[in-house]
């Protein structure tokens, strides 16, 4: 009895001094490196921006195995963190198991839909942005051959490829799009040498614009494009500055924005499905001083028109995931 009272008292004391008035948010990275030049890093950038702007603090968790997904979400919720933000579609099943146990905690999952009362699902319409860069590539190419280098061969990346081909065909009916995936395991995200090889092969087949959706592998693609005097297209972040004058544009996916917004919305954020596309500025293409001279007036106007038409629904870009297939090749 005494022991119970002491334990209770110490628990209350602990909560009084250690329990924050406003809970801290938490960020759980996907398996793999935190500085992956792709979405983990983008998520971190968003969280960092929130930290410098608000002076707040957040917890970050990196994983070492699949079993730790559920564990990490649970631990963050138990520690009183809210919102708990996780990046990557692989968290879906784990979150669906954990979320009902912590009804007062808000969860945010990026790249996946989990329909629950206390979960915000942020999904990106990568096909829309890829359509626009495909359109620009189609209007820029002289040879009529363009390339795509994907990272790991997963449905998400096929969505990028499919949008890109649709945009290119809209620009030029008889265009040839060479598609290659770097590999079938996670190392495909971090293999710039292989990326360079694939880009070289595509250039050899006549490609003069190459788009990558391959994380750090894509750095090799962009470098090869620059070295060979053709144009590359960046992804996720604005990569125009990497090889100024050789990167036609970048397809921007604002994972950082999703994380920053979630952190700023705080412990009582609105839940539901938040699709981020062109209309929400969660997806876009980069236009800055580095590529202003590369995109012709015609391509720029066409891309702007297409952007408005996609937003208004006049152009419907097919999403690979919806049918597990792409209508164009």
């Amino acid at each position: 009895m005494n022991k119970t009272i002491i334990r209770l008292a110490s628990m209350i004391g602990w909560m009084a001094c250690a329990g924050p008035v406003f809970p801290d948010p938490a960020l759980i990275y996907d398996l793999g490196q935190k500085y992956d030049k792709s979405f983990n890093e983008s998520a971190f950038n968003g969280a960092e921006r929130w930290r410098t702007e608000t002076g707040g603090s957040f917890r970050e968790v990196q994983l070492q195995s699949e079993a730790q997904r559920e564990q990490a979400i649970r631990r963050a919720a138990e520690a009183g963190d809210s919102p708990v933000v996780m990046v990557g579609f692989s968290f879906g099943t784990a979150l669906a198991t954990v979320a009902p146990d912590y009804p007062d905690t808000r969860f945010v999952i990026i790249d996946m839909v989990v329909e629950m009362d206390n979960v915000r699902s942020v999904v990106f319409k990568e096909h829309e942005g890829s359509y626009l860069v495909g359109l620009i590539a189609g209007m820029t190419t002289e040879s009529g051959v363009i390339g795509f280098v994907g990272g790991m061969d997963v449905p998400l990346i096929r969505r990028f490829a499919c949008g890109y081909v649709q945009g290119a065909k809209a620009a030029r009916e008889n265009i040839t799009v060479i598609q290659n995936m770097t590999g079938t395991d996670p190392s495909a995200w971090s293999d710039p040498v292989k990326g360079a090889e694939l880009a070289l092969a595509q250039i050899g087949a006549g490609a003069d614009v190459v788009y990558h959706a391959a994380g750090a592998t894509g750095i090799g693609v962009l470098k090869t494009a620059a070295d060979s005097g053709i144009l590359g297209i960046g992804v996720d972040l604005n990569q125009n500055h990497l090889y100024p004058g050789s990167v036609l544009t970048s397809m921007i996916k604002r994972v950082d924005l999703a994380v920053e917004t979630a952190f700023a919305d705080g412990a009582q954020l609105e839940t539901g499905i938040f699709p981020l596309g062109l209309a929400e500025d969660g997806i876009g293409y980069a236009l800055d001083e580095h590529n202003a001279a590369l995109i012709g007036a015609g391509a720029r106007a066409a891309a702007e028109t297409a952007r408005k038409q996609i937003i208004s629904g006049e152009i419907a870009v097919h999403d690979y995931i919806q049918s597990d297939s792409c209508p164009v090749q």
């Binding site: 398996l31 935190k34 917890r59 970050e60 968790v61 990196q62 994983l63 070492q64 195995s65 699949e66 079993a67 730790q68 559920e70 564990q71 990490a72 649970r74 631990r75 520690a79 579609f89 692989s90 879906g92 099943t93 790249d111 996946m112 790991m152 061969d153 997963v154 449905p155 998400l156 590999g183 079938t184 395991d185 996670p186 995931i321 919806q322 597990d324």
Partner: protein
């Protein structure tokens, strides 16, 4: 060179190596500005201080027991199977196919079937390197590690194109039917009236792993086949002279080894995730090598080493969670130090220990 007494070989040397590695890790923790004793406290409390911690520690240990046994059986025949990673990956495929194939009425029927599936697929994945080694002398260190890569590629191909639930973006199969749900520690202990937290993934596979330890002990030290395996491992020429077929021993040993590695999937795929995932093995096959070396290829040693690595995994996760200065890379560094000292730098402790014991014996 004097050899050590049994107690020193099995207990003193590993424990001393472990202490050394923790000391070096402690210095690293000190160097980044944290209190090493506080860190060690968090690790131990997180891993073995609560029922919740034990639930995770033993879950990880279960994986390492299977892969550790797989490596150890091969070591007894002088074969270095570093393909447990791939064999466990393909074993997962076998277990998943069995679980998804029927509406299983009860786990007690699904478990034996899935055990067969996982072991068969794991063994089949070891069969090709085994045949190439036995017939053509292609070294299994090379072939098995290549088969790891092929296994991962095969799994991703199947998950993307064949087994993935339609319209699902994640690389995973549909969830297994409820009849294939293995009893968790929470449920088993609940039947006995003992409370155990619900969330840790520890399940009945641990008992399977313990049974595996027993069977491997019986196989290696109490059967004719085990005797042949050990003879072959000690001296191949002598084994051939004694009428033991090298082809048969290499094939059988590696098939058993692959089967044991495949069984790991019962714990991760069937017990924890209840669906086939892309990253279910996540390095456990390689930890199995460290576990087998540290456990001196003996089931009891493997059991203890597995629990130690379970503690490092679970304690490491807790450490990262509670000490922001220590990130995942630091945790992996500490785990690597333990492997380095206990596995690779064994002689650094062994030789001085031999000399010391010899000296004590002389002075007496």
């Amino acid at each position: 060179m004097t050899s050590l007494p049994r107690w020193a070989d099995t207990a003193l040397v590993p424990l001393f190596s472990l202490a050394l590695s923790l000391m070096v890790a402690g210095l690293m923790v000190l160097w980044i500005g944290e209190n090493p004793f506080h860190a060690l406290g968090i690790m131990l409390k997180g891993a073995v201080g609560t029922a919740y911690g034990w639930g995770y520690t033993l879950y990880y240990a279960t994986n390492f027991i299977f892969t550790g046994l797989a490596v150890a059986v091969a070591i007894h025949a002088g074969l270095f199977n570093i393909g447990a990673e791939g064999q466990a990956t393909v074993g997962g495929l076998g277990a998943a196919l069995v679980c998804l194939s029927l509406e299983w009425p009860h786990w007690s029927l699904a478990l034996p079937a899935a055990v067969c599936g996982a072991a068969l697929f794991g063994a089949a994945w070891a069969a090709v390197p085994a045949y190439l080694q036995a017939r053509h002398g292609s070294h299994i260190v090379i072939t098995t590690i290549m088969f790891n890569i092929i296994a991962s590629a095969l799994l991703v191909y199947l998950l993307v194109n064949v087994l993935r639930a339609p319209g699902q973006i994640a690389l995973e199969t549909a969830s297994f039917p409820p009849g294939a749900h293995l009893p968790t520690a929470h449920e088993i202990l609940g039947w006995m009236g003992i409370g155990f937290p619900k969330s840790p993934p520890l399940n009945i596979s641990l008992l399977l792993a313990l049974a595996g330890c027993m069977l491997v002990w019986v196989l290696i030290w109490r059967t004719r086949l085990g005797y042949e395996i050990r003879t072959f491992g000690f001296n191949e020429s002598a084994a051939i002279y004694a009428g033991i077929s090298p082809f048969r021993i290499v094939m059988t040993t590696l098939l058993i080894s692959g089967g044991l590695a495949g069984l790991m999937a019962i714990n991760t795929v069937m017990g924890e995730a209840e669906r086939l995932l892309n990253n279910a093995v996540q390095g456990a096959g390689f930890v199995g090598i460290a576990v087998a070396l540290m456990g001196r290829s003996h089931p009891v040693g493997i059991l203890l080493a597995s629990v130690l690595f379970g503690i490092l995994y679970q304690g490491g996760a807790e450490l990262e969670f509670h000490m922001p200065a220590i990130d995942r890379d630091m945790v992996i560094f500490i785990q690597a130090l333990v492997i380095l000292f206990v596995g690779a730098l064994d002689n650094m402790v062994r030789f001085p220990a031999e000399r010391l014991l010899a000296f004590i014996a002389r002075t007496r």
